[in-house]
């Protein structure tokens, strides 16, 4: 039996008196893809930030590749960074505006994978190619790229550190439909080719369905439903999951049913 590459156990995060994440646990198998679904205030983004080390959990543990992650020392940060990387929603904001794309990709590589300048340059070219960007794009500044190109570049930069797990926080939410499809197919390809695992945080159930195998549904900081993504979407057990599903516009959209779902969820 394989062991999970990522395991979160009873994560709790409190901000003052407010509990943003409340007893959240999940496992992610190597090469797997886990969706964390929820709306704003569900705690899904805080969970992702805990995984990435941007927040320290109030209690609970994260185990990455068999090793428990603790503390926020520079050493701990570096170790975590080599195994887990994160892609943010806003691909523009996640680059230093003054650095060329190639330099931005090479910089973390120098920290995590020692090598000569020449080796790094070759690796950058390889990565750009892998995510479907030309070397000319590598010379450009972030502002000269389109949203889709920037997100590709962010993926290339993350891959340069050879992580086992990629946390994608609403990574395609800001993109146009046609570009979103390009990034989704790219992510699909990368997972098949490299065996990397994804934690995909999102609100769009259609996208989550496409990109994940298993999913947890979060509401008010708690996991309300979990299971195979197809099962969760086909046969939702929790009324909140049903509300989420019925809220998605479709040709036979029934707003009455949405209202009914909502009453079932919060009788008042």
């Amino acid at each position: 039996m394989t062991i999970p590459v990522l395991r979160a156990e009873s994560l709790v995060k409190r901000f003052g008196g407010f509990t943003a994440v409340d007893d959240v646990s999940f496992e992610l198998m190597p090469g797997g893809s886990l969706g964390i679904v929820g709306e704003s205030g569900s705690g899904k983004t805080t969970t992702a930030r805990i995984l990435a080390g941007l927040e320290q959990p109030t209690s609970g543990t994260v185990t990455l590749a068999g090793r428990a992650l603790e503390g926020d020392s520079r050493r701990a940060r570096r170790q975590r960074a080599g195994r887990l990387q994160m892609i943010f929603q806003d691909p523009y904001g996640s680059f230093d505006p003054r650095q060329s794309i190639a330099r931005s990709i090479a910089e973390p590589m120098r920290l995590h994978a020692p090598g000569t300048r020449k080796e790094h340059r070759a690796r950058v070219a390889e990565l750009l190619d892998q995510v479907g960007l030309s070397s000319r794009v590598g010379e450009a500044l972030p502002r000269d790229l389109s949203g889709g190109q920037r997100q590709r570049a962010a993926i290339a930069r993350a891959l340069g550190m050879a992580p086992r797990v990629l946390v994608l926080d609403e990574a395609v939410a800001a993109l146009d439909v046609s570009i979103q499809a390009q990034i989704l197919t790219l992510l699909d390809e990368l997972r098949r080719e490299t065996g990397i695992s994804y934690v995909f945080v999102g609100h769009d159930l259609a996208v989550v369905r496409y990109i994940t195998d298993t999913a947890i549904v979060m509401r008010h900081g708690r996991v309300v439903e979990r299971g195979e993504t197809e099962r969760v979407l086909r046969a939702p057990q929790h009324p909140y999951t049903r509300l989420l599903l019925d809220s998605i516009p479709s040709p036979d959209w029934d707003l009455e049913r949405v209202a009914r779902d909502r009453r079932a969820l919060d009788p008042r």
């Binding site: 046609s178 496409y210 989420l244 809220s247």
Partner: protein, 331 residues
Amino acid sequence: MLAKTTEAATHRDALGITGLSLAIGTGADTVPLLAGVTVRVGRGETVGLVGESGSGKSLTARSALGMLPRGARTTGTVTAGGVDVLGAGRRELRDLRRTRVSMIFQDPRASINPVRRVGDYLTEGLRARGVSAHAAGEKALDLLGQVGIRDPLGALRRFPHEFSGGMLQRVMIAGALSTEPELLLADEPTTALDVTTQAEVVGLLKDMQRAHGTGMLFVTHDLDLAAAICDRVYVMYAGRIVEEAAGSALFGAPAHPYTRALLEASPSVHGDRAVIKAIRGRPLALAESPPGCSFRDRCPLADDACAGAVPAHRRHGASTAACLRPEQVTP
């Protein structure tokens, strides 16, 4: 102005945009933004305007209020609520915005003055029309009740930051409908909201629209949403309308390759898990698009004939599409 209004009264539409082209800059610096856009919204009708970034959908909606970029030069006509918008003076435009056409925006927080109470916001437009303070207050109270705000009396005294995004968008809708407009322009009104809130707000918009007989132009990037709530949908690409279809027909029988490509690129929660097909390249603005059909660089059906001229709109089934061969899109 009076003559103009009576002349247009025979026109039954809430909004009529005909052959609108728009460019900014002069000489070599001219940047075209819209070309030959024709959009019609009947009284009480819901019409979708769908497109990706740079398609010109927001610009088209704004033109209905005469809100054009600085230095814009236009050809074509825009008639909103019986007023010739492009020919109208400043006073007429102000009058139009105040009484006959309202707009709601994507981010309610950005479009409401944060230091004024919700009550002031709602009564402002009415007071400007000469409604008494008392009557305006009554009306605002009534509207807040209609849009489903609990404790409307208390809400009048609260500030925008005391509301959630969804609740604030309800307030905006109440404000937009306070003047009983003929036309409501909704520019991505639910994009910033959660899915469940979106469903509520859309339901509310539809109810209010039915109750008041308002025509609505619903601008969105979400094809599913447009198809779900609109009587008719216009699909825009690179500053042009490329397809006009009944909302219900959009999914079953797309007539333009771009519409079909968008559908194939969107994953779905319904039906079997299907592969998505990405469209190569990125959405273009009018100024960057190639001569002939703007979509031809990204189109699987394109050939040399598509480069010749911008394809005219032709009927295909229940739709019209600006494509030389719509029959190959949906046989």
